[in-house]
Symmetry: C2
Subunit: 321 residues, 2 copies
């Protein structure tokens, strides 16, 4: 009996990604002995071609982005990665070379982030490629960072730089003139999950999440969970040199930076007396951290400039429906 | 700030499904303290409208089928359910009443099978509805049923009845005349994961899997894992009254029964001296179990009738590519 295409695909491409417990992807399910005395941390994110990535993005970065957006959820909880399950719905006419590139990207990131595939499913779809990944990580009991916990008076911090992903998408589409070095496009295609920083912020940050749907909207989630509002200063929001150049050329891109999403940076709250501890956590993790504002009594998120002028965008961020 | 549609959908419909550890679906990830001293069992299965279910299937049964095909993977490993994560890619024009029905079905089955949702993601898709679910269960260390383990001379057993799901799909399409009572259609839309039987077979069955892609193909997996072949008697394969009636009306449906898939019954190997223990496990679980053949030296799966005539179908089962 010759193995049919589906099983051949799995054996040729996905089996080499399998780690301990995955049983060579040959059983109905995977087995995992969780690290004793640790709490499991689990998240799932899906990506659809034409919605979350561009159909002609390189297959290597599509696989890595899928894994990294999920790793970013672990980072937001202060967790360390353990493994993942993935379902792939491929259009019928897909080239095997595309799948080989997709898997090569995953293999790179498995090594970089220290995890492996545990299981999954491969199906066909009469429509756009749709990829779904469930990530597993672990954290000490009671130590996970949560969205709830900020208090009025706490400072708002963010890691890395904001807006590169959203500007990168526009650069790839030719809507942002100057991305000659490809910095913005690379940030759109390859987010950098802040796993080390998330773990270093355990016991330091009062609340945290990752910025995926836009800085203003996601800060709104933290503020709402705390039953308060937040104010940020537009000029305090950390920008890459490429984003600064894009904004200098077109000041109308500011709402894109503040609400475009695809940042996968950590957004968190810390007591105003803890700035030195936050800075030390950033240094330990090798990731810049920047204070951009403050949680305040009231509700909603307000963005202002140096002179106090209101710059709050009309639309806070991305929603699918 | 008004909550946008995506977050409203999640709050209204999915949050009521959330169990302990899901943090009300309001964080980046879920937290779960795994049962101490148990091995985790994890699987993921995806379903695409038009491929795995019919676009006009009732939304209640779509949600339940998604959960049940995953529960069936736990059953095949002898595991007990713990929880699940789900990603849903809904077409933009979806009716909220459809989502309400989908969730109502999931709520029913959460109660029936004793588990709850831990997390997930809801996105839009410019194409067919695509649903992915990752299930978590647990089993005593070293006790999981595996596909590998059968030996030549072992008997081939199967639970319940075979062919109803594949005939049910054809009945819904009007290709099978007589399903007045709707038994076959119901079996296509609502598989019955054999969780109790799977757990009762731990320590009894030598190897096991669930029948999802067709009896002949799936038996081929068990035989290949054992480095041997298998023979089954067509008339020994257990059929429902509805399937028997369909076959009596059209004997040409036999390959559909043997290779059509969507059975979600357990297929397993047991020592020929263990028939009484297998029967007792079936009785304890309230599920009929039937001996249909034997693992033999060699390779491949052969189907024969009472007179020894070869009835092996040309195509063993379903493959996506």
């Amino acid at each position: 009996m010759t193995l049919p295409g589906e099983f051949g695909l799995i054996a040729r491409h996905f089996r080499p990604l399998a780690g301990p417990g995955a049983l060579d992807l040959g059983d109905d399910a995977a087995l995992l002995d969780p690290p004793p005395g640790r709490t499991l941390v689990m998240a799932a994110d899906a990506m659809v071609a034409g919605v979350h990535f561009l159909p002609d993005d390189p297959p290597e970065t599509v696989g890595r982005k899928l894994l990294r957006v999920n790793l970013s959820d672990l980072a937001a909880m202060g967790a360390a990665p353990l493994g993942y399950l993935m379902t792939t719905a491929f259009p019928l006419g897909i080239q095997e070379s595309w799948i080989a590139g997709f898997v090569a990207g995953l293999a790179l990131d498995q090594r970089e982030f220290g995890l492996s595939v545990l299981g999954g499913d491969t199906v066909s779809i009469p429509g756009p490629m749709t990829l779904s990944l469930t990530i597993l990580g672990h954290v000490a009991p009671g130590q996970a960072l949560r969205r709830v916990g900020a208090r009025p008076g706490d400072e708002v911090w963010v890691s890395g730089t904001i807006g590169d992903g959203a500007l990168g998408l526009r650069a790839i589409r030719g809507q942002v003139a100057d991305d000659a070095a490809g910095h913005l496009a690379a940030r759109y295609r390859l987010p950098r999950p802040r796993l080390g920083l998330g773990q270093a912020l355990v016991g330091v940050a009062r609340a945290a999440m990752d910025v995926s749907d836009g800085l203003v909207q996601d800060l709104g989630h933290l503020a709402r969970a705390a039953g308060c509002g937040a104010e940020i200063a537009a000029e305090a929001v950390p920008l890459s040199a490429a984003a600064r150049a894009a904004l200098a050329a077109d000041a109308g891109l500011l709402p894109t930076v503040l609400t475009g999403g695809d940042d996968y940076e950590l957004l968190f709250a810390a007591d105003s007396g803890d700035a030195a501890r936050v800075t030390a956590a950033g240094r330990a993790a090798g990731v810049p951290v920047t204070r951009i504002g403050r949680f305040v009594a009231g509700q909603g998120v307000r963005v202002h400039d140096e002179s106090g002028r209101d710059l709050t965008p009309d639309r806070a961020g991305w929603s699918h429906f």
